[in-house]
Structures are given as structure tokens and as C-alpha cells.
């Protein structure tokens, strides 16, 4: 009877003391590794490396004066080792030279980009009647206007980034006027 009691007490204590002391012995050289996740440092180094993120590059654009929209296609390579979903891009468009609000930019459709793959991202620019007037008055004869994306908001895989910097773009306006 007493032997069984002793065995059960040893079992209760040993069940926890055994594995925990085993891990402490294994990492006795650096005990911080007992609570720091294995491989975390490597992941963080990969994520924060300067070449970890590649900016989208311009591919083509098309303008529809009737609907006052321009579709600009960018190419984006997912250099990470995990899939990304581009859920949302939203920004206001302003003229670089005159700081006039020209319209709004948004992502046409949700884009899924698998790890290591390159996908095309279509961003639709919707300009206002005031923007048209501005092109005629201040950019007559120009085929391209330098614009900046402000209040840029991007939702990538559920993480929303509000970018404080302005993104400069050359918007083709030849077909607008």
C-alpha cells in the first residue's frame, strides 16, 4: 500500500521534473534558449533583410475616358517563403507639381501570390471632373503627369499598413484630353 503511494508521488513529481530538467540540461550552455523559440532568430533575419521585399514594378496602363478610369498594371514578386494575399490597396492621388487632388486609386481584385511567384496587380485610378479640368489647364500637351499616392493603405494577408511616405508615379493622360 505504501509502495503504491510512493510510486504515485514519484510519478507525479517525475512526470514534470524529468522533461523540464532534461531541457535545462540540454540547453545548460545558454539557458535563454529554453524560452526563446528555436529558429526565431533565423526567421526574423530573413524577414528584415534589405533584399527581403521587392517593390512592385510598372508593366502597362490603359485609360478609359468615358468612365474616368485608368488601369495601371504592376508586377510583384513574392520573395517570401509563404503565400501572400493582397486584399486591398487604397490611396488618394495628387498632382506632384500643383498638389491638386486628382482622384482615388484602389485595387481591382484581390490577388493571391504564392511564395516565390510573380503576379500582376491591377490598380484602378478614378479621376474627378476637376482633375480633367486641371489636366487641360495646367498640363496641356503633356502625355504623362507626375502624380503622388498619398494616404496609402495596403492590406496584405490581413495586415494593414498605412504608409506615411508618398509614392511617386507617372500617370499617362494622353487619352484623357
Amino acid at each position: 500500500m505504501q509502495l503504491l503511494g510512493l510510486f504515485l508521488i514519484l510519478l507525479s513529481v517525475g512526470a514534470f521534473a524529468g522533461p523540464v530538467s532534461g531541457v535545462i540540461l540540454m540547453y545548460s550552455d545558454d539557458l535563454s534558449e529554453v524560452i526563446v523559440p528555436e529558429g526565431l532568430e533565423e526567421i526574423m533575419t530573413e524577414m528584415t533583410a534589405e533584399d527581403a521585399f521587392e517593390l512592385p514594378s510598372y508593366v502597362s496602363s490603359s485609360v478609359d475616358p468615358d468612365t474616368r478610369t485608368a488601369e495601371v498594371v504592376f508586377s510583384f514578386t513574392n520573395s517570401f517563403e509563404f503565400d501572400l494575399t493582397l486584399n486591398m490597396i487604397a490611396a488618394n492621388i495628387r498632382c506632384v507639381d500643383h498638389d491638386v487632388l486628382l482622384g482615388h486609386a484602389e485595387l481591382e481584385d484581390q490577388v493571391e501570390i504564392e511564395a516565390g511567384e510573380t503576379e500582376e496587380i491591377a490598380v484602378v485610378f478614378v479621376w474627378t471632373a476637376d482633375a480633367e479640368e486641371h489636366f487641360v489647364e495646367d498640363h496641356a500637351g503633356e502625355s504623362v503627369v507626375d502624380v503622388k499616392l498619398v494616404d496609402l493603405e495596403i492590406d496584405v494577408s490581413g495586415i494593414t499598413v498605412e504608409v506615411p511616405d508618398e509614392v511617386l508615379l507617372a500617370l499617362p493622360i494622353a487619352d484623357v484630353m
Binding site: P19, I35, E81, N87, V156, G158
Partner: protein, 206 residues
Amino acid sequence: MVQSSRVNWFGLAGGVSVFCLIVVSFFVPWWQLVVGNNLMITNVSPLNTNFDLFGNAVSVPLIVALNVASLISLSAGGILMLVYSVKPLGVHSSRLLGFSYKKPLYSVVFFLAGLMVTVAVVGSLFDISVPLLGSQTSTLPAEYTEGVTLSVLMSAGFQWPFLLAITAAGLCIGARVYHQKVIEPKPKKRKLEVSKTIQPITVTVQ
């Protein structure tokens, strides 16, 4: 042969459910936290806790050790509960029951306490609000994001194995309560003896 009247059915069901819980916990967590669209997944249970950060599996050695400890403890509890259940009147039955019925309860209580403390500590360390249940969008502090406003959608919730764990704990406590009934001697049924001989009734009219 085991007499059906002398089996602690609560204990038997509790022991079986503990083993079901052990097996299930390796595939489905008790609690899960998903950051973004599966960018980071945290699967937590006393038996198997793992992290998936940006597609990379990450483990914490101390948590792995505690998982192994829970596995040993719950398995021992389950085995001893089953042994007790089929022979509740044995010499060591009370001791076996006393050891085993608390194990699933301890797992549930320590799991909940550990989870709440961890969520609170992580939330205060990184100055973000981590949900215990439901979805929430948390904005990361500017000092971590170099001025960029970064909002993260986090969804958390208990999974069905947690309910199984509560059920197993309930059954094992039930086994402890039912043990009193099992060990009480059954009162013998008295048979009513009815005389089959019909006595003639004599009525005398005066």
C-alpha cells in the same frame, strides 16, 4: 468475470475520454490564435503547442518539455482510472482513483490559467491587445514599425478538444462521486412470502 454492478462507469468513460483527448490533441489544438490570413498561427494545448510563423514551424523547448510532462501525467491518470474503474473494490482502488481523477481537471485549470497569463503578459510586453476569444484588430506601437501604422487582424478561439477536456474532467470527477455508491454494500432484497394455501373462512351468524 467483472460484475457489471461493480464497475465504475463514470471512471470507465472518463478513462476512455482521457485517451481520446490525448490522441485528438495532437491533431487539433485546444485554443488557436491566427494573425492575419494565416500569417502566424499559434496552436495551444497542454499536450501539443506549436507556432507557425510565416510558414516556418517554431517551437519553444520549455513548452515542449511541459507538453511531454502533461502527456506523461494525463496518460498515467487515464491508465490508472481505467484500472480502477474495472475493479473499484480492489485494495488499492481508492488510491488509484485519488491519483487519477484530478489529472484532467488539473490540465484544464492549468491550461486556462497559463493561457490567460500568457495572453496578458504578451499584450503588456508588446503593448497590443491579444484576444482570448473572437476577432480583433490591433495596432502595433509605432516604435516597432518605424512610423508606419501597422494594424493586424487577430482571431482566437477555443476548439472542440477543449470541450472534450472539460467533459473528461467532469466524468473523472463523476467517478470520484460515484465511487461512494460503488463501495456501499447493496441492501438485500426481501422476498415477500405469500401462502399458497387458501384458508377457509368461517363466518358464524349469531
